[in-house]
């Protein structure tokens, strides 16, 4: 365990004492998210992109679109793969090399949130059934880590996909060929938004920063779509949630998710 990530005792006590007074170390309310700003189109050469800043956490998501062979059992659907990586510039404790379990979890939770919500209507992305489909990749790169990478990646991905442009392809001699300068808007059905909550003692706080993240007992990430339905869940951390906690978290995620969705819509609809 690298020494820079051991939180000092004074700060830990300060966080715990303040929670008893319903306060957080950075002055936020329990259900308040840090300042969120999203810029799309930051990587112009990619088919879509977004940079999300959630407090001091920063993620860059890039969308690449190219023709692919479909998966064997879904020849009538396009392909969508989301990934996430914590770059070594993001925090002193990040090691290079194959992804560690927390990073694998981050990538898979990000992917599930988008996939299970059916954000993109994959049936509209077929070029030739069972032979050629549109493949969409959204890769997240965390550039600065101040806690809650799950939500930062979720927002960057949703904004990048919502604002991307899908090239037009025509089949020439069985080979999908790009038609220059012709693009379609992506077939978006819903905007999934994740909300991560940490449990410290008996308190539930939304969007933990790195200090809160390092002392939390457990966490839960709940992803809702535009209808307010829950499309993905992930609990993490060494401790557990009570039944009441979980109901409360579900309600918070819908309420907070609504606000975040508006921010994402506003930042990414210009591209649509």
């Amino acid at each position: 365990m690298a020494s820079s990530s051991i939180i000092d005792q004074l700060k830990k006590n300060q966080i715990l004492d303040m929670l008893k007074d319903e306060k957080r170390i950075d002055g936020r309310a329990f259900d308040e998210v840090r300042e969120l700003s999203i810029d799309v189109g930051v990587i112009p050469k990619a088919e879509g992109s977004a940079r999300a800043r959630l407090g001091d956490t920063e993620v860059v998501a890039g969308v690449k679109i190219q023709p692919e062979r479909p998966f064997p059992d879904t020849g009538d659907q396009g392909m969508l793969i989301c990934t996430a990586e914590i770059l070594p510039i993001a925090h002193p404790d990040v090691e290079t090399g194959p992804p560690s379990p927390p990073v694998v979890e981050l990538a898979r939770v990000t992917d599930r949130g988008i996939r299970e919500s059916k954000m993109i209507d994959m049936k509209q992305l077929v070029l030739e059934k069972n032979k050629s489909v549109v493949g969409i990749f959204c890769d997240n790169a965390v550039t600065d880590h101040d806690g809650n990478l799950f939500d930062a990646c979720s927002y960057a991905t949703t904004a990048a996909l919502n604002s991307c442009k899908i090239p037009k392809y025509e089949m020439k001699d069985e080979v999908p060929t790009k038609v220059e300068n012709e693009f379609d808007d992506p077939p978006i059905t819903t905007l999934p938004v994740s909300v991560t909550m940490a449990k410290i003692d008996d308190y539930i706080i939304v969007d933990p920063n790195l200090d809160e993240w390092s002392i939390m007992d457990a966490r839960i990430t709940i992803t809702t779509n535009s209808d307010g339905n829950i499309v993905a869940l992930q609990k993490g951390g060494a401790d557990g949630f009570t039944h009441d906690d979980l109901i409360k978290c579900g309600e918070i995620s819908a309420k907070v998710g609504l606000k975040i969705r508006e921010i994402i819509k506003e930042s990414s609809s210009g591209g649509n």
Binding site: D8, Q9, L10, K11, K12
Partner: protein, 226 residues
Amino acid sequence: MSNEKKRHVIPGEVIVSGQYRAEQNTVLDGDKVLATVIGLSDVHDGSVRVIPLTGGYYPKDDDLVVGKIVSHSAMSWEVNINSCYAGMLPATDVFGRDFSSHSDDLSAKLSNGDLIVARIVNADKTRDPLLTISGRELGKIDSGELVEFSPSKVPRLIGKRGSMIQMIEGATGAQIIIGQNGMLVVSCDDPNGLLKAIKAIELVEEKAHVANLTDQVNEMLELKSE
């Protein structure tokens, strides 16, 4: 040999040419003295140095530092002193010479995350610097807020003969422990005083290179009083 006016320099820039002694943060290239870090050049009595505006903390003997306990072995604690070298606090410093690793439990006295005020005893680079907490005003820190600060700007925070730090403490009622390693502990009975002191420290951090910093801090401290 003239005393030159202080200049902003970046690495590789020539400060002076001629018969000068190249001191901290400079290097000789033929008869030219070059800066090796971003900072302010200082030419004085035939020697040249650069006062850095950025960079980490490198332990020196007798420095007062604020450190965080991060692990321990049977015989010592490892202390994060905000440097590329971890500090080493021997168990004998706390338990005395009769220390026995069988009966004396290190984590009972100091555990991971605890903060200490310590002095560097031996900063030879072939091994980790030795620390001591036996001494007046040294030991475990039980209260206050830890504030991170640029080690290179600590002299500015202290000021000439302590003038800057005394001004801040006087105007806010706070007590500020300054570690040479850029780790500060600020305590104050009055939460407003605590906030004001921290804001003043942040101002020094931001404007360390500005000529009228003292006036700006003065102004900020007076404006903030209700």
